[in-house]
């Protein structure tokens, strides 16, 4: 049986690293603030959101047609189109393409789909040398960790962590923690790898049905180097990445980087339509549970996601606990609603790793009802009998108490008296999670109900 991930325990360990937690919170909230400034400069933002949402919903409700149209147009351009039902099939397809070209080394740009499929370990087991070329992703690869954020994968690390890692792995000066020095060291280490690679791999942010091409957005230009230097380019594309028309791209490109980091656009917005001169282009269209989710009335809207990360940046739970606390490919609020779709048993705790404050829903550029879906996933977890024993006992008691006024008032006065008279050791102990990291509230002289009965119900 799959072991459930323990987001609370993982978050607790991250929070214990005080400097990490404070820096992470500051940086991630900074991205949210930068996003707000960028959005405020576009008064038609709400119109863009509504259009983006409708375009995605239209595409998903006609996905079979758009997939076929994309395939047909891509093939016309000389792109070789492959299909993969699941992660295993995706990895096998990629491996076969590499093998048939005798490719031994691969340079990758960031792709959440390839993370989801576990492509890198799969290829490494088969003696393919895989190098992540995005700086943050390379840091994570060298640390043997998954990305903690979909846009900035190593945002949970301090510069001193990176200096220590690079000293060990790249032979840099361990005392030099200057990000300029560290970035330059990585540039110099990666460049020969780009030049020696037999193949380059990318993901895709959007695939355009009417042209049969796809778009990759990066800030480092690493996808462009991987696609333009080695003779072979393979792109993994989730089937939900389709959009109908070229003109739809303008809507999404205007929103993506503004939502993610608060920039008007990514430094590189690259469009691939067929193989470049002297090169070969393969596209793998991947399902991996997407078609199943499409059939779920409660959860199909999550397929609208454009992976901007805005929901993570605004989430109070994500900001404090860090992305690795989710123990999954996708973290943050979007992770909470995507991960249980891959493995409910393993990710059953994630829907509870949320305060349900709803901020994620407000910032989502494609209007996914994220917080609603988090709540609905809780119901799925309960419905499948997967609620942990502590939550089950507590929730049952709480449910009973809250639904009976006599019981509630009795519990209220017991609680008040208890908070007043119990010694600290009884309140602040491992059995009371509400007493961790915080003081219990001071008890008011009387409850609102007592006050109301005294002051307003007088005859």
């Amino acid at each position: 049986m799959t072991r459930a991930v323990d987001p609370e325990g993982r978050a607790e360990r991250f929070i214990a690293l005080e400097e990490h937690e404070a820096t992470h919170d500051r940086l991630v909230w900074g991205m949210r603030q930068h996003r707000d400034q960028a959005v405020a400069a576009v008064p038609e933002w709400e119109q863009l959101r509504e259009l983006a949402s409708q375009i995605k919903e239209h595409t998903l409700t006609h996905l079979d047609q758009y997939l076929e149209q994309f395939e047909q147009n891509a093939t016309k351009l000389g792109t070789q189109v492959h299909w993969a039902r699941d992660a295993e099939e995706h990895n096998a397809v990629v491996y076969n393409i590499l093998q048939s070209h005798g490719a031994k080394s691969l340079i990758k740009s960031k792709s959440m789909l390839q993370e989801e499929c576990g492509l890198t370990p799969y290829l490494q087991k088969r003696s393919i040398e895989v190098t992540e070329s995005d700086l943050g992703e390379r840091i994570q690869q060298l640390s043997n960790e998954p990305p903690s954020h979909i846009v900035v994968p190593a945002i949970h690390k301090l510069r001193s962590d990176v200096a220590e890692l690079f000293a060990k792995e790249l032979g840099t000066d361990p005392t030099n923690t200057d990000p300029h020095y560290l970035t330059e060291s990585m540039r110099n280490n990666a460049r020969p790898r780009f030049l020696a690679a037999d193949a380059g791999m990318t993901g895709a942010n959007f695939a355009v049905a009417e042209t049969g091409g796809f778009v990759v957005c990066t800030n480092e230009g690493n996808a462009d180097i991987g696609a333009s230097v080695p003779p072979l380019h393979v792109a993994s594309i989730g089937i939900e990445k389709l959009i109908p028309r070229v003109r739809d791209l303008a809507i999404f490109i205007r929103m993506l980087s503004r939502s993610a980091l608060g920039w008007p656009i990514t430094q590189y917005t690259s469009h691939f339509h067929g193989p470049r001169r002297g090169g070969e282009l393969h596209v793998v269209l991947v399902d991996n549970t997407r078609s199943e989710r499409l059939g779920s009335p409660d959860f199909w809207h999550a397929l609208k996601c454009i992976r901007c990360g805005a929901c993570m940046n605004t989430c109070p739970v994500y900001r404090r606990g860090g992305g690795l606390s989710y123990g999954a490919t996708y973290s943050g609020p979007i992770g909470v609603i995507l991960d249980p779709g891959f493995d409910l048993r393993k990710y059953r705790e994630l829907p509870f790793h949320s305060s349900l404050c709803g901020s994620c829903t407000e910032v989502c550029p494609v209007k996914i009802d994220i917080s609603e879906q988090i709540y609905k996933w809780r119901r799925v977890v309960v419905g499948n009998g997967l609620l942990t024993i502590t939550k089950r006992v507590g929730m049952t008691a709480l449910g009973a108490t809250l639904s009976h006024s006599t019981l509630f008032h009795a519990a209220e006065s017991v609680g008040e008296t208890a908070l007043k008279i119990l010694p600290r050791a009884v309140l602040y102990n491992p059995f009371n999670p509400w007493g961790k990291h915080r003081e219990m509230p001071t008890v008011p002289r009387q409850t609102f109900r007592q006050w109301y009965l005294e002051n307003r119900r007088k005859p």
């Binding site: 997939l67 030049l195 690493n222 230097v229 205007r254 980091l261 430094q267 691939f272 193989p275 470049r276």
Partner: protein
């Protein structure tokens, strides 16, 4: 059943109902803020926001002198622009790997986008796509009349499927992956300079 058939059948079975209609995107897109500043001034500001620079030059000879002035130590200047030859013609490059030693790449862009501070480049202009990302520094010639206001305008002007590669490049390569510190020259070009002069002025 092949993977393709399997996936298409599953999608067909599961497409949500009711079907949502494709919305019209108004053209031109109504910008609620109106015309704040000239398109050109806005382009130059946004390019700076993205970490790039722009300069006006009178003609091809002035552009040539400017490149020399900006990059006095450059040994290899690879050019895709006839009026500014450099030390290597990109047409002579057989394989992208030959571009590993390029100090400065020189390209002409047919289109700039003000709201993004971006220039559009395709295989047509680059000849060898890697020139845009392997060169340490990039100089992009742009006709000031070829700058449009928004991404909507830009996507209406370009023929995407006509070129295997097309990129909106907004400033140089950048990263904020280490504690959010913005650094230019992460993997691709370290700097991007736009030189404005009218096409046909040589």
């Amino acid at each position: 059943m092949s993977a393709r058939e399997h996936i298409l059948a599953a999608v067909r079975r599961n497409v949500p109902r009711p079907a949502i209609p494709l919305p019209d995107i108004p053209s031109p897109f109504p910008l609620t803020q109106g015309k704040r500043e000239s398109v050109l001034a806005s382009f130059r500001n946004q390019l700076e926001v993205m970490g790039g620079k722009s300069l006006e030059v009178a003609d091809g000879a002035a552009a040539q002198a400017k490149v020399r002035e900006l990059f006095p130590g450059a040994k290899v200047i690879c050019s895709a622009v006839p009026e500014l030859p450099g030390t290597r013609r990109v047409e002579d490059v057989r394989d992208p790997h030959e571009l590993h030693d390029v100090d400065v790449g020189v390209i002409r862009s047919p289109l700039g986008v003000a709201e993004a501070g971006a220039v559009w480049l395709t295989q047509g202009e680059l000849v060898v796509n890697a020139l845009g990302v392997l060169a340490q520094h990039l100089v992009v010639l742009l006709d000031p009349a070829a700058v449009v206001a928004t991404m909507h305008d830009a996507y209406e002007r370009i023929q995407l499927a006509a070129s295997p590669y097309g990129v909106f490049m907004a400033g140089p390569s950048a990263t904020g992956d280490i504690e959010g510190v913005i650094i230019h020259g992460a993997q691709g070009t370290r700097s991007l300079t736009v030189l404005f002069f009218r096409r046909g002025t040589s």
